[in-house]
């Protein structure tokens, strides 16, 4: 099945661990096979990732206590510290990056994973996350800022 690696990667970042990610990716693939007629574009990757995302969200709702709530704009701490070295996430090692990404709210994490790890366009991310392109733009900008903040906070500890 094509794009299985992308499916697993998204599931892993949404679920937070390998075991649950395997379950989610597997269930998503079963659904994908069942609804393969629903895939209208030639690539199919965004379509499969949409199924993975929906499967993961249902799974999280059923199995995890934490509700999936979008972050409020006002909760965003101003962590843009002018004095800190530019672009910390470029110098951060992969473990620090991974740990920081885990701390982000779900919808920010998914936007970053789809963009940075899967290389989807904003339009494709909008399709997968079922939000307008403007929302994708704002989520990515805020997600990167939060990610950078998380890395800086960890470096300071």
């Amino acid at each position: 099945m094509p794009h299985l690696d992308a499916a697993y990667n998204l599931a892993r970042w949404l679920a937070g661990n390998d075991h649950d990610a395997e379950d989610i990716a597997q269930e998503a693939c079963v659904r994908a096979f069942r609804f393969v007629g629903g895939c209208r574009n030639s690539d199919g990757r965004a379509w499969l990732l949409t199924i993975v995302r929906n499967t993961a969200y249902s799974w999280l709702k059923k199995n995890r206590a934490q509700p999936v709530v979008p972050m409020d704009d006002h909760e965003l701490a101003e962590i843009e510290d002018q004095s800190c070295a530019a672009g910390s996430f470029h110098s951060a090692d992969t473990d620090a990056l991974r740990a920081a990404l885990e701390t982000l709210p779900l919808e920010f994490r998914e936007a970053l994973v789809l963009r940075e790890l899967e290389g989807l366009s904003y339009k494709e991310i909008a399709e997968v996350a079922e939000v307008p392109v403007g929302t994708v733009m704002s989520r990515l900008a805020r997600a990167r800022r939060q990610l950078q903040g998380a890395i800086i906070r960890k470096e300071k500890v």
Partner: protein, 62 residues
Amino acid sequence: MNCAESYLFLHAHADGELDVAKSLELERHLKTCSACAPSVRRYGNRRCGMTRPIRCEGKSAG
């Protein structure tokens, strides 16, 4: 364009996702706004903030 919009568009611009009209608008703002300069240094020149090594591969992937 205000600084908040500029911040959003800066990311989209670095990602190669901003249309020409908005890019011009952004450039005009950045030319005259010193408050946005640190963000430009941080995000302006790169397409990607992260790298792929943290991509997760499942046992069944491939």
